[in-house]
Amino acid sequence: MMMLECDAKRLLASVGAAVPAGAVWRKGEPAASVKVAAYPVAVKAQVRSGGRGKQGGVVKVANATELAAAGKKLFATEFGGELPEVLLVEAWLAIEREAYLSVAVDGRAEGYVVLYSPVGGIDIEEGVPPARYPVGASWNFRVHELRAVLEKVEPDYQWREKVIALAQRLVRTAAARDCTTIEINPLVKLADGAMVAADAKIARDEWAHFRSEEIAAERDAEKARADEYLRACLDMQHMYVKLDGDIGIISGGAGMTMAAMDMVAEQGGRPACFLDCSPGPTSTRGYRPAFAMLDADPTVKVIFVSVFGGGTQMQRVANSMKEVMAERKSKKPVVYRLDGTNIDQVPGIFAQFGAHNHASLEEAAAAAVKLAGAPA
């Protein structure tokens, strides 16, 4: 889960990485309450999505009047669909050069990888691929190994040594604080030679919530931002991504949920969501909020239940469907495709409430597409 820049920078500062002097401005606080040591300052919208700079989310401000105006505008502007709750007001930096440094979890590295580019401040995918140091487990980080990698791309040895020292700290921090990505872009050199993290993105591992107060709080905040329907689903550990179609998919397992989405598209329809209910209890308690959310969503015309279970036993899923259908008020059609452990018990249970279980994913997807009708 992505942290806000101001929280990421607080974490960086706590492990000895230099960040610009700044103040946090919360929505509703008067501009006069923001402590500014000297102008000019940068006013930065705090949102989790990328591309903020290109959307005008960072404003240079020369005096208190401009600060108030910038705050008014930024608090009222959505960035990537997100309205900022917080602005970060930072000293404007006299930048001599910009570089790129990140530490991330990487499967090929069997752990962490350090990425560095002598040119920063841009979308890292657009430029020359960064230099790569596969670290593996955090305790395998070696200063001399990273130095050998950086010597090929970074001629300034004094700067290079600072990068190495910072990278070492970041790898340890990633492991100790359950960060899956720490990206500093740009990592800037000021006129006096100082190294400062001008921007920072940190993603935390949500599954470490049981040992991190910060991550647990971030998960709670994420739930609090959701509407009541989605919150009930998140409470059941369901995973949800909204898409732009009209066939709501209730599935189990990430791969199978995506396969159902793809099959709907192949049959000429459009999936309305990715909704994987397998991590939560696959019982009536688990499926009830999933149906409630899709029933309440006006873009969803048909609900397509696609579950292929191993540990999830199909007679239990079928009985849950029976219970949910008995209490459900919505008339939206539901199409079923269940398969897996104890599938032979499903027809008998479905017969009790007049449901039909399709024999294959393609047949069920085609039926859902037909019920959804022509695209509006």
């Binding site: 599954w207 040992r211 990430a254 579950v307």
Partner: protein
Amino acid sequence: MSILLDKTNRVIVQGVTGQMGQFFVEDARKYGTNMVAGVSPGRAGTTVGDVPVFASVRAAVDATRADTAMVFVPPAAVLGAVLEALECGCKLVVATADEMPVSDAIEVRAAARANGAVFVGPNTPGLISPGKAKMGFMPSFCYTQGNVGVISRSGSLSYEGSKRITTAGIGQSTVIGIGGDPVKGTTAAEALELFHHDPDTHAVLYLGEIGGSEETFVADYASRKGAKPVAALIVGQTAPPGKKMGHAAALIGSRAEGHAAKQKMLRDAGVFVADGLRQVVAATQAALASRKQTATVA
């Protein structure tokens, strides 16, 4: 033959007294898995089914010469349980848990390597060598013994894919779920290497997803001289970029991790790529047929 698992593995279950543990003991024994012991601290001297329960892996291994461990404990306890099994000499350890912190997975992977053992997981249904043994909770009727090795990043997709080829008369040597997390105990590269050296595996079916870089391993293998033919399906054609699709690694973070780029990379490497689930059987048949042709030429 098969990879990693057959009737000779002597299996213990950690967390045997939990719901999953009990279900697994009954289901896997029925299938033929050689279940020798359970482990559950505080429950020594009891039994699950008629499998004896010990308080520690050490006690279980000493009493039963177990060499393989199945781990059914909550996510926060997986790291400790797997390290215990590895350090007691288990050569294959499988943990199905999802929600395992990635820094724990990194530590487990390093420990498995240091102990000369194989870890499969996390976030996996496990593995099955059809007709011999299974470690995990995959539905048994989806599988039949044969010559295709199956590697999958997703559990339920591996049931679906396996059932399709089984129904078409294509059996499997071993089906291994490598899991949906970014750092895996067993990578696609390692699973491919194991299948490469298994004489009874004639072709490999790889079931992948958008996001991450696992598929580069598959392309690397397929373009190697003397490689066994590979068929593949990548799901997530309709997934938007920048959103995590359930699995931690199923996130299109860059263009290379998108559906089209992965399909092209695999095709360029000579992989028989299925455009969707409906083409999985045809792609697998094509892979098997290409081996026969190569064999005839040779």
